[in-house]
């Protein structure tokens, strides 16, 4: 599996993007990354909070017009 997987969470409202990310993360190994593309601005708050409590790291968080892109790294 490549080191970075993409999660399309566009049109999903929180907490669904977090749920999708959590489910995807459970199949990944420490060090692998998820790039999530979302449209709900709530993810800018919820995904970092979810990462903090689960020991993952937010590598990048940016917005591009109406899309929010977060890259996270799975913790050990």
């Amino acid at each position: 599996m490549s080191n970075r997987v993409r999660l399309d969470a566009r049109r999903l409202l929180c907490p669904l993007p977090v749920i999708k990310m959590q489910n995807m993360a459970s199949d990944l190994r420490p060090g692998q990354e998820i790039e999530a593309v979302c449209t709900d601005p709530g993810v800018l708050h919820d995904i970092p909070a979810w990462c903090r409590i689960n020991g993952h790291e937010v590598l990048e968080s940016k917005s591009d017009r109406n899309e929010y892109i977060l890259i996270i790294r799975i913790g050990g």
Binding site: Q22, D40, I53, N54
Partner: protein, 347 residues
């Protein structure tokens, strides 16, 4: 050395679930949180949709609670399975369309399955005897434990001393004398306990954290079932009921009119599936039409939408009607007069 016991706590995002998990953690138990997403949770969506909600902190209270406690949180999507709970509750509904007792049984049952799969020892909830008229009564609390299959693995730390012994207490995993005996609707003991733990910034959502306890939401859901001719819903239905002004001028169609920019953006996402109307000549909202209106009714709907635009006092307002297939039509329309808007249309 004694083996460290593991519990999963149902985390709703409210103060009681936070305290119950904390009480158990104080006794050296490893706790992780579980949060169920039914689709009717007030969390999240409404913050995202409505701009005026953005003034408030946009946090998800369940995630925030887990962070305060320093525990992991597992959020579980139960949207599909929950339909059966809501549509066929064995114990009926509360004041509105909230099937609280069936809902609690279902959630604890899911938690019981989860602990078995993940090799945890017991389940913790923030229930308090006498706090809620349906699911948290002295006679219904044992029903939750029995029917969920959790039996004596279900511990309610905030009122455990008012209830029969559970296995965690019997086995000495938990010291019963350090649990609580809260009862009734007063919030005072919870607030005091929160203070003792140094917790001040907790969530006390005014209308609760579930749309099914909301009168207006429940009446919109009943309306949906009534005019659809069957009690059925999909995820988009329940999302759309959370958004906009709902107006039903006739049994075969209703309008969903955005009240602000956040709602306009949200409704835009549904333009392919619904006929939509917006005003062009004047600032005005976007509206979706749910149902199958006749051509005459489409004009009536356009006049209603014009009524909510800045051109409501004008003789003619230009509207754009977009069909599901993408076909666009521009029309001049006379906005409906205030006296023509029947109060019974408003859901």
């Amino acid at each position: 050395m004694n083996q460290q016991r593991k519990a999963v706590a149902l985390i709703s995002g409210g103060l009681d679930s936070l305290l119950s998990a904390r009480v158990v953690m104080e006794q050296g138990v490893h706790v992780e949180g579980i949060n169920f997403f039914t689709g009717f949770c007030v969390e999240g969506h409404t913050h995202a949709i409505r701009k005026r909600e953005r003034a408030r902190p946009k946090r998800n209270n369940a995630l925030w609670t887990a962070e305060q406690l320093g525990i992991k949180l597992h959020i579980i999507d139960i949207i599909e399975e929950y339909k059966d709970v809501l549509l066929h509750p064995r114990y009926g509904y509360g004041a509105h369309l909230n099937p609280c007792l069936d809902c609690k049984i279902f959630m604890v049952k899911k938690a019981a399955e989860w602990i078995e799969k993940n090799e945890f020892d017991f389940i913790v909830t923030g229930e308090v005897v006498g706090q809620r008229p349906m699911s948290q009564r002295k006679d219904t609390m044992p029903v939750v434990a029995q029917e969920s299959g959790a039996e004596d693995l279900l511990l309610r730390p905030l009122c455990a001393r008012n209830l029969p012994m559970t296995k965690p207490e019997r086995e000495g995993w938990i010291d019963r004398s350090k649990l609580h005996d809260f009862s009734g609707r007063t919030r005072k003991p919870q607030i005091e306990l929160a203070e003792k733990f140094g917790i001040t910034d907790f969530a006390q959502p005014a209308g609760g954290c579930c749309f099914l306890t909301d009168e207006q939401y429940s009446s919109k859901l009943s309306d949906l079932w009534k005019y659809r001719g069957e009690r059925r819903y999909d995820f988009d239905d329940i999302m759309l009921l959370k958004v906009g002004r709902h107006i039903r001028p006739a049994s075969n169609y209703k309008l969903i009119i955005a009240r602000e920019e956040g709602e306009v953006n949200f409704l835009q996402g549904y333009k392919k599936e619904y006929l939509s109307i917006k005003t062009i000549s004047h600032m005005g909202p976007l509206a979706l039409i749910d149902g199958k209106p006749s051509e005459e009714q489409v004009l009536e709907a356009a006049a209603i939408v014009a009524r909510f635009s800045k051109g409501k006092m004008e003789d003619r307002v230009e509207v754009e009607i977009t069909r599901q297939g993408g076909e666009v039509q521009h029309l001049l329309i006379k906005p409906l007069k205030p006296q023509e808007m029947k109060p019974e249309w408003m859901l």
